[in-house]
């Protein structure tokens, strides 16, 4: 057992050393404890903003799993209605729980999609690539990003419009652009951009009042 000046008992010498060192560096350590979250949040804001600027928007149509329950709370939950090259049935990604890639080509406002193994050379012919995970049982490929936060007041109105079935929705998927050599970069985590309702940005509709808001 070791003791220091203020008579605190320590089980081992290293404990006393650590405490004394911590006391010596007390003020900087106390400041760091508070700065850590601030640095983290600032970094997050900067990195997300930079990614938003760098990434290219690819507009993808979306549809509900069940039109009656498209909206849950303040989030619109949907699945992507990709325009598959050769039809949805022609898409495959071999292997068990293997990473599959979504290959987008054509116009960014109406891209064509293919499902490819991420390590094939065909990937080089894509304009943008998003990595997903194939279901274990060989089911759907999961690309994440299946919900969109909407304005609370618009939620009720949107819910009614969606139920009526007269609304077409699409969303911008923000994906990494081609690199300097003209090769597509595989985006591991895509970002969501603008949500469109009948071709118009939801934020614009809320601003000009074309989407009547609830209270």
């Amino acid at each position: 057992m070791t003791k220091n000046g203020d008579n605190t008992s320590y089980s081992h010498e290293w404990e006393r050393k650590v405490i004394e060192r911590a006391k010596k560096w007390g003020a900087p350590l106390a400041a760091m404890a508070l700065l850590l979250p601030l640095i983290f949040f600032t970094g997050q804001i900067i990195s997300h903003s930079a990614q938003e600027k760098d990434y290219q928007p690819w507009r993808i149509a979306v549809e509900g799993y069940d039109p009656r329950h498209l909206l849950k709370g303040r989030f619109i939950r949907y699945r992507y209605a990709f325009d598959w090259t050769g039809g949805a049935a022609a898409q495959s990604c071999t292997g068990f729980a293997q990473s599959c890639c979504l290959c987008l080509t054509g116009a960014q406002a109406a891209p064509q999609a293919r499902l490819l193994n991420c390590d094939t050379t065909e990937i080089r012919r894509c304009d943008a690539v998003l990595e997903g995970i194939k279901g274990r049982s060989g089911g759907l490929v999961d690309f994440g990003l299946r919900e969109y936060y909407v304005d609370e007041r618009a939620a009720k109105v949107l819910d009614q419009l969606l139920r009526s079935g007269e609304v077409r929705m699409s969303v911008d998927l923000l994906l990494a652009p081609k690199d300097d050599n003209g090769q597509p970069q595989i985006t591991e985590k895509a970002r969501l951009g603008v949500l469109y309702v009948n071709g118009r940005a939801l934020s614009d509709m809320l601003q000009d009042g074309s989407l009547p808001l609830g209270k």
């Binding site: 089980s11 405490i19 106390a30 979250p37 949040f41 804001i45 997300h48 970002r191 809320l206």
Partner: protein
């Protein structure tokens, strides 16, 4: 009973003098006046915060995304600076705790705001893990009060459970069982070890207390609940998922041996500065009784009852040795209740059909309670020397 009438009775009995009564009353009046003033200030502060929150909420959708983010960042930075100034000289402990808890909460809301603004589609578990990581140093440095320590410790357990559930999705069923069992055993023991470290025990006694109590509570509850496994075919299912009895028994024996070795290590390592005799006994008992249902592989209500009662009888013996009267009482009460449940399991169906059956059940219940009370009196009549905190 009000303090004044209590004190009058004590004066009448000669326990305290008139002068002492006056001193106590004068002290309590002064304290209450300070409490009232503090309460009013807190109410005022709360009203201001509520007002700000309402103004922000009413204009939430009019605010630009960066306006929201920067406002939150400025709020966090301002409170952090205030906490730094307040916390470092320890002059205003209540304000320090309030600022610390406010920042703890605001860190979580900031994570939510970033997810909302940038449409990150994040999972609640990921948010909780990040929250705990970035907030832990601040809580350790600035939080001193018991409620802050308990809040943080409970948040840690909840986050650990959710993180396990989320991040173990990729494992097969037996992998999840193994990882879950390992964490359920080692997280509380590790927190208990942390409570023994001088830095925690001497400089953050509130955290040390919360770590110790939650660790013991979690493990004792888990060991008690483990007896329910004897009622189901959970053992067979786990054995099927393991695919090999050797793998399962090997894993269970290794993990139990490691946990016992860890507890013995803690006992020895901190022996010079902290007596872990009582706590160590509880930890060892819990680790063993958690493992038994997964090693015995018996589906039997008798074994379930024996497991539970033996566990609590041993806890009672341990508590008796260390003069922990409260735990002795609890152990006796639980064993008595469990005995009564056995009686109901055996005869309950037949008894409940008739009025006579209910009378017998009621009489047996009273008999069990009396038996338990008498047993407790016998034990407490001759407490052994020793001590449990």
């Amino acid at each position: 009973m009000r303090l004044k009438s209590k004190l009058s009775k004590w004066v009448q009995r000669g326990l305290i003098t008139d002068a002492q009564q006056d001193d106590i009353l004068s002290f309590e009046r002064g304290r209450m006046a300070r409490h009232f003033a503090m309460g009013m200030q807190l109410c005022g502060g709360f009203a201001i915060l509520l007002g700000i929150a309402l103004v922000v909420a009413a204009n939430w959708h009019e605010l630009g995304r960066y306006a929201k983010l920067i406002a939150h960042l400025v709020l966090n930075a301002g409170l952090s600076f205030w906490l730094f100034k307040t916390g470092y000289n320890q002059a205003k402990p209540v304000l320090q705790e309030l600022l610390c808890l406010a920042l703890f909460g605001l860190n979580l809301t900031f994570i939510g705001l970033i997810g909302q603004v940038f449409q990150l589609d994040g999972k609640i578990t990921e948010a909780l893990v990040v929250w705990m990581i970035i907030s832990a140093p601040m809580m350790m440095v600035y939080a001193r009060a018991g409620f802050a320590a308990w809040l943080w410790t409970i948040a840690l357990y909840v986050t650990a459970f959710m993180a396990f559930d989320h991040y173990s999705q990729g494992l097969d069923e037996y992998g999840r069982f193994m990882l879950g069992y390992f964490l359920a055993l080692f997280l509380p023991i590790a927190l208990y070890a942390d409570h023994c470290v001088t830095a925690t025990r001497v400089f953050r006694p509130a955290f040390a207390g919360a770590f110790r109590k939650t660790s013991l509570l979690v493990l004792v509850v888990l060991a008690s609940v483990s007896s329910l496994i004897f009622y189901s075919d959970a053992f067979d299912e786990v054995l099927d998922e393991a695919g090999s009895a050797v793998l399962h028994y090997g894993f269970m024996l290794i993990i139990t041996a490691l946990s016992l070795a860890y507890v013995v290590f803690i006992k020895r390592y901190f022996a010079k500065v902290y007596d872990t005799g009582y706590d160590g006994g509880l930890l060892l008992l819990s680790a063993v009784f958690m493992a038994l249902p997964w090693l015995m592989g018996v589906e039997s209500s008798v074994m379930a009852a024996l497991h539970f009662m033996l566990f609590w009888i041993l806890i009672g013996v341990l508590a008796q040795r260390h003069a922990a009267e409260g735990l002795v009482t609890l152990a006796i009460a639980l064993v008595t209740i469990r005995l009564y449940i056995i009686f109901l399991e055996l005869f309950g169906d037949a008894l409940m059909d008739t009025g006579l059956g209910l009378i017998i059940a009621g009489a047996v219940m009273i008999a069990f309670v009396k038996l338990g009370q008498n047993f407790r009196k016998c034990l407490i009549a001759e407490p052994r020397q020793g001590g449990a905190s």
